[in-house]
Structures are given as C-alpha cells and as structure tokens.
Symmetry: C2
Subunit: 277 residues, 2 copies
Amino acid sequence: MDDLLFPTVGIAGIGLIGGSLAKDLRTFGLAGRILGWNRTAAHAERAVELGLIDEPRPSLEALIAEADLLVLAMPVDILAERLPRVLDAMRPDQTVIDVGSTKRALAEAVASHPNRPRYVACHPMAGTEKSGPDAALDNLFRNRFTLIIDPARSAPDALARVRTLWARVGAVLAEMSAEAHDQTAALLSHMPHVLAYALARTIKEAERNQALNARFAGGGLASMTRIAHSPITMWEPIFRQNKQPLLQAIDAFAAHLAAFREAIANDDSAAIESLMR
Amino acid sequence: MDDLLFPTVGIAGIGLIGGSLAKDLRTFGLAGRILGWNRTAAHAERAVELGLIDEPRPSLEALIAEADLLVLAMPVDILAERLPRVLDAMRPDQTVIDVGSTKRALAEAVASHPNRPRYVACHPMAGTEKSGPDAALDNLFRNRFTLIIDPARSAPDALARVRTLWARVGAVLAEMSAEAHDQTAALLSHMPHVLAYALARTIKEAERNQALNARFAGGGLASMTRIAHSPITMWEPIFRQNKQPLLQAIDAFAAHLAAFREAIANDDSAAIESLMR
C-alpha cells in the first residue's frame, strides 16, 4: 500500500462534503481504508450502507487513533471547539484537514498549538443545498477551487500530501490568508446565502399576508432561493463566526440595492441601465 | 385546415418566448403557417434558418394583415406604445395576445378601446436569462403557469381559443386582475431580478476595489446571479412600468435583510435561526 497517498483516512462528519470526498478517495485510489465517525450515529451507518466508508468508529478519539489523514467535515462552531483537542492527540506522522467555510476563528484557536504544523486548513468551494450522506456526489470538487489557507503554518510534508490529494480529485488550488479567505467567502458565499434566506422569507410572508401564490413563480425565483434550503445547523454558525466580513458584505449589497431602488423611484432609465450593466 | 386552432399565426418578436411558442405551435400542430416580424431584421432571418417561422414580414402592419392570432412578444415599453395601434387594425375574426411581464400599464392603455375584446393578456411564467431566436426552447411552457389577465375583458371566442392554445402547449392556467398580476410578478420575478443585478454589481465592485477573485465562487453565487444575465432592454422597462409594486417588494425584502443583519450584529443565534426557518 506504499503508493497510497493515505493508507487510512478518517472522516469525521460524513455528509455532503465528507461523503463526496470519501467517494473520490475511493474512485481515485487515494486511500486504503476509509473510516468514519458522525455525531448522528445513523449517518455513519448509512454511510457504510452507501459504501462511502468501510467502517464506522464510535468516537472522534477512536478515529484519530487510526487515521493517517483525518478529515474534519463538521459545522464550524464544533470545529473551533474540537480542533485544539484533535491537535493534542496528533502524532507527527498524522495530518488533519478541515473543510469548513470560515477560517479566522479556527486559525486563532490553534495559532500557538505545538502540533499546528500537522493541520492544513482547506475550503473546497463546492457543494449543494443538500446534506447528509445521501447528498454525497461523485466528482464534486472537479474543476472547482479548493482554497488552502495559511499554507506556511503547515508542515511541508503534510501540505504537499494534502495538495496532492485535492489535485488528484480534480480541484484547482489557490492559497490565501485566513483573513483574505473570510472576506472572500463572505462576499462569494455567506452574503449570497443570507440574501437567499431573506428572499425566501419575504415570499413566505407575502403568501401569508398578501395572498401571494408562490406556485406561479418561474425558474428565476427557484434559482434565487435554492441555497436557502441549506441546513440551518451548518449555516447559522458560519454567519456568527464570520460576523464582521459578512456584515460588510451585506452592507455593500444593501448600498447597491438602495441605489437601484432610488433609480427606479426616480424613473431614471439611464441610472437603472447603468446599474444593470 | 379547419382543425387548426389558428391557420396563420404572426409572431412579433421572435426571441426566447416568441420563438419557443413558435416551436410548440408547430410541434403540437396548432398553426398552419407561422409568420414573423422582428425589429432587428437579422433575428427574423435567423428565425427562418432555425425553422421557428415559415416567412418573415417587413413590418408589424404586414403581420397584422395576415394573422389569425397575433403574438406580441416585445419589451413592455414598446408593447404599451404599440398595442393601441394594433387594436386599431384588428378585425373581429382576429385575436391578439401579449406575453409581457407587466400588465397594468397595458390594461390602462387599451381599457376603452373598441377592439379591446380581441385582446387576451397573457403572462407565461417561464423563461431563461437568454434572449434572441437561438434561445428558443421546446416545451418551455409545459407544467409552468400561464397567467391570463382580466379575462372578462376579452371576447369569449378569443379567450376560449387562447386558453386552448396554452393548454395544448402544456401550460397550467390561472386568472387574475392586472393589479394582482403586477404585485405577484413584482414579488416572484421583478424584485428577485433586481436582487440578482445588485448582487452581481456588488461582486464586480469588490473585484475592482478589494481584489476579490470571483472565480473562487462555488455554485451558490452562480445560482444567485444567473438571472442578472437577462437582457437590459427587456428588464429596464419592466422595472419602470411596475414601479410601485416593485418598490414595495424591494422594501419588504430590505426589511427582512435588515432583520437578518441585526440578528448577526447582535450574535443572536435564536433570531438568526428563526429567520432561516
């Protein structure tokens, strides 16, 4: 098994991202054994049924003990709490990655940890609004960016193998600081999610109060509200952890919306067209 | 040709909607001959090449002279200007429909016209962000609502045949007043388009001023900005014609967004979760 990138991979959180990575690890022959642990034990059992993992483990600690690569694919509030304790248990031959959507809180939580070099912070910019092991997809990461955060804080051997892993599943790699990441993610992902939730809520309220029939909607509304079906337990901690960049992104959007509103209120065709360009 | 619903159909504006309807008219054997006119003459020629129409006509007047059913599929500002003149030329055996996205301005423009009964106001709630004859799709209207506006203002024979036409191309029919329509369309379509344009602009500006790299975006942003690629010449007049309902819809959304922002600013998990539900 010498040619395997990671003989044993442990996936903590076997949902959309963890499960999709498990599929690709197998497809591309990157792991010998895939073990899994999930807070919701039924998800781990389902992941075995689906062939995503070979065997479940009863605790994160049991997973850490066996994993050459540990993948933390859990909500970011739980990540921030668990990552220091995971690093406490890491041996020098082990590597841990996370796939969370915020990075500054994590970076701060482990900045001075002696085992910090075993950790490579990753954010695959891929996903859907679905969750759980049944949401796992083949080739989810192919031709999508995976961002590697603060790479200089990771040990060269861990970084090299993690870069190889993402490249082998088809991801395009880019590197940035935790701060730049959180601003980027706020603008490209977190703020758009807030808009989708707020839009879905606006429509629901109009159905209640104005007898709107939302079944009349065409494809545009479905497209705009798709990501509002994303799981609350995953996204609420993201919004809180990335508070300042997210508030700035919301304010930037709100300013553009206000400009649009004013142009419409003033019947200003030239201004409306210029805002649409 | 007695069993044809409309022996000759004239389509004024052979783009996404006009072209898709032409395809379905042919597929479902609802028209003998399909004639077309387009302000951009190259689009009419392309529509012949694509087999959407049998022959082009050099003017809207020439089209009116021959059409049993005239389909007006043009931007709503041009519709409001042309519809009274189209009705001037209508014979009692002819029917005209529009497929525009606003209805109150049109309703007012022809309210007291003696030939008003020959007009059936329609809004198929279907489309994509693309435009022009090459954007025409088969079965675009199937299982989507087509709204029939102020049906009591149309002659029973015209209304019956237009209802049959939409039913035969697979549309689900619903009826409402012009006022209810414009509020519905503002909430379900026009306001979401404004959000998409404002979001696209926010991202563009961050690319310019904050060195954001928007190529890192996952599928969520693409989903949220897809309809911002819709043609300006079609949407700018919609925003102006549906001004009051649109401003109300924007304000309703802005209030929900502000509530979301406040909950995030206050680290109020319970409020954030309740806004996401």
